[in-house]
């Protein structure tokens, strides 16, 4: 059975792999395909933690991955491993007085970051609150499934939530395998090849920012973004956790583009920049606007600032 699949180049390699995994006696330790000629499966299995690999090892891993992706998605991917820029700590601002809840950011993010369309994964959740005495810490009042003809709706305000890139990230603290960590520029990243899918980080995250690939991620070939980063938007695997990385594949360049959600926002409610640069717009927001951070009492110290520009 596996031989037949192997010789058939048109069948998707990951499908075969997962099929083999499934038939491997149902034992976790034996869930690796035996008897397959595909050596890269073994290489993938024994791949080291991203931060423990040297440059040569990273290079060979990238080469293998680019081939795997090319085989699977029939698209040439360029996987970057760009490191953090010196003297940069990213910060994000979101103007609650402007956001109209149109969800353009949600889908721009999905497209830029190659999120699974089926089953659906969204890194940004837009919450609709009723204006009134209840404040944003009473989340049961929020609705994320609002769908009127037009937004903004009278008497409501909107609060998009995504990874807050905490300075003190609870998800990193709890990860049993160190598969997620905070980079020097403040971005919390995941090594999708090291994550075991225990979802402890999802239980620990106070912002619902982490998302699990419950099924095999599926994306239409036409919609793939081939400009990817190892720690960011490269296509993910079934059974691993993923999250917002402030569009690491864009923002770590020099000059670096704004994240996709900033770029798409029709009302300009989203602000992004270097917290260490006193001239950046994010610093201006923090210094001149009424700013708050979500669930401040948890001491996660997010680098995501909600503000009111009015």
């Amino acid at each position: 059975m596996s031989k037949k699949n192997c010789n058939n180049p048109s069948s998707k390699s990951v499908d075969r792999r997962s099929f083999l995994k499934g038939t491997a006696f149902g034992l976790a330790s034996l869930a690796i395909p035996f008897g397959t000629s595909d050596a890269s499966v073994w290489e993938a299995f024994f791949q080291k933690h991203f931060r423990e690999m040297n440059d040569d090892e990273i290079k060979s891993v990238i080469k293998r991955m680019e081939k795997e992706y090319a085989d699977e998605y029939k698209t040439g991917f360029k996987i970057k491993t760009t490191g953090p820029l010196p003297g940069v700590k990213f910060g994000y601002g979101l103007d609650l007085s402007r956001c109209i809840g149109c969800r353009r950011c949600v889908y721009a993010c999905v497209k830029e970051n190659n999120q699974s369309r089926e089953p659906q994964i969204h890194w940004i959740t837009v919450l609709q609150f009723e204006k009134g005495e209840k404040w944003v810490n009473v989340f049961e009042e929020a609705d994320r499934y609002y769908n009127p003809q037009e937004v903004p709706e009278e008497g409501h305000f909107y609060m998009p939530v995504q990874c807050q890139q905490c300075e003190n990230p609870p998800c990193v603290k709890v990860c049993p395998t160190q598969a997620t960590w905070k980079e020097r520029d403040g971005i919390v990243v995941v090594d999708y090849n090291w994550c075991i899918g225990c979802r402890y980080c999802m239980a620990a995250c106070p912002y619902g920012a982490r998302h699990f690939n419950w099924g095999k991620p599926q994306i239409d070939k036409k919609e793939l973004n081939p400009d990817v980063h190892y720690l960011g938007n490269r296509p993910r695997y079934k059974g691993v956790v993923e999250k917002c990385t402030f569009c690491i594949q864009r923002t770590r360049e020099n000059p670096g583009r704004y994240p996709a959600c900033v770029e798409i926002c029709p009302v300009g409610a989203r602000k992004f920049g270097n917290l260490l640069d006193p001239e950046s717009e994010i610093r201006y927001c923090i210094e001149n606007k009424r700013v708050f951070r979500l669930k401040e009492d948890l001491n996660t110290s997010p680098k995501f600032y909600y503000f009111f520009a009015i």
């Binding site: 997962s18 149902g26 709890v174 994550c195 239980a203 106070p206 419950w214």
Partner: protein
């Protein structure tokens, strides 16, 4: 040459003993095997198509597997309740049956590990959690701690059980000087496995339902009810089907201990209930959900009150000497406690941690067919493992099975 072959021969003897049994025994094995098969098929499906076959989603990211895991850690930890009086106070009637408790602990830990592995999205990467060859996040991650303490506990209990059985199977008395240090170590360790498991949830400030200091004490208290209650049932079965003698005194003593721990468990529950509802802060919602429902969502309510009524009833049954020394009411109370704690420390503990989720959404979780299948399979495996283990251990204990260090075995 015969010396080298001896272990193999002994193994065959053991297997012969395991294979021997009446109609009921084979029926029981077949019954369990059927469920194991269901479990294996379900798990293969889950591996193949992904965790999307479970009812878990981003909103409720842990479910039935982790609930069962939590309950079973409690069962495993409860072996300590038997060890403490048996060895520290030399309470003879219980000492006789400590072995059974330790075998139960081994079984429970193995089941725990199976439940955790079932919950992993990438089980083949499980080795990443190990120290040295993986990248264990120790001491930061409580899950790393849990891996250490659970496997340590498994090792300790295996050592104790195998030492005792080894000595007995050779017809020798086991030495307390060897057993003593193991037991001394196992007592705090048993407490620690359940404490660490409680801390696993307790340490998450994002989940107010778990982020209460009373969680670890409540874990211990409820574990010290359900574990012994399960054992009381097992003891009665064991003494009916084997020659092993378990005195009524031991059973009643354990029942009395359960009354105290259940009393404590109920008190701790009341303390938490009061604090949450009287202060009525924004953290009340996850407490409201399981007991009164939230915004019309009340799937868990009936279960939680059932668990409470069960626990309360069992408490009174165990409290009165008259009812706890009557085998009908005693067994009824045991079943009530096991069910009650299974609900309370299983789904009742895990699910409200996620409802409402951190952004206020209410997704009412209930296990899917695949999750039920896998869980059933693990429970059946546990029962099979325990049965076969006892089938070997009991004859050794009662002297029916003896190995010789060399030469042929002697059986009576």
């Amino acid at each position: 040459m015969s010396d080298l072959l001896q272990p193999v021969k002994n193994l065959f003897t053991t297997m012969k003993f395991m294979a021997k049994g009446g109609k009921w025994y084979y029926g029981w094995l077949a019954f369990l095997s059927l469920f194991i098969l269901i479990g294996v098929v379900s798990y293969i499906k889950q591996l193949d198509q992904g965790m999307i076959l479970t009812a878990m989603r981003d909103q409720v990211s842990w479910g039935f597997y982790i609930s069962n895991f939590t309950f079973l850690v409690g069962v495993a930890a409860a072996a300590v309740l038997l060890v403490v009086p048996a060895y520290l106070y030399n309470f003879k009637p219980i000492k006789e049956i400590v072995l059974l408790g330790e075998i139960l602990a081994i079984t429970a830990i193995i089941m725990c590990l199976m439940f955790v592995i079932s919950d992993l999205g990438r089980p083949e990467r499980g080795w990443h959690i190990l120290p040295i060859i993986g990248a264990m996040n120790f001491p930061s991650s409580l899950l790393a701690w849990d891996v250490l303490v659970l496997n340590g506990y498994l090792a300790i209990n295996c050592t104790a059980v195998f030492y005792v059985l080894y000595r007995l199977s050779l017809g020798k008395e086991y030495k307390m000087s060897v057993l003593w240090p193991i037991i001394i170590l196992s007592i705090p360790w048993a407490i620690s496995i359940h404490t660490v498991t409680a801390f696993l949830y307790n340490g998450l400030s994002s989940r107010p339902f778990w982020n209460a200091s009373i969680l670890a004490p409540r874990f211990i208290a409820s574990a010290l009810c359900s574990g012994p209650a399960l054992m009381l049932l097992i003891f009665q079965i064991v003494r009916r089907v084997s020659k092993m003698e378990i005195s009524d005194v031991a059973i009643f003593k354990i029942a009395e201990l359960i009354a105290y721990t259940m009393g404590l468990n109920l008190f701790l529950f009341a303390a938490e209930f009061f604090k949450e509802f009287y202060s009525g802060s924004v953290h009340l919602a996850p407490m409201q959900y399981p007991y009164f429902g939230l915004h019309g969502h009340s799937k868990l309510v009936i279960w939680m009150w059932l668990a409470f009524i069960f626990n309360l009833t069992a408490f009174f049954i165990f409290l009165r000497p008259k009812t706890r020394e009557n085998f009908f009411s005693l067994n009824l109370a045991c079943i009530l406690i096991i069910t009650g704690v299974y609900i309370e420390k299983g789904m009742g503990l895990i699910i409200p941690g996620f409802i409402p989720d951190v952004l206020g959404e209410i997704y009412e979780y209930g296990p899917s067919a695949i999750e039920k299948g896998v869980s059933l399979g693990i429970w059946a495996f546990g029962a099979l493992f325990f049965t076969l283990f006892l089938k070997f251990a009991l004859p050794v204990y009662t002297g029916d099975l003896r190995f010789k260090s060399s030469g042929s075995e002697k059986t009576e």
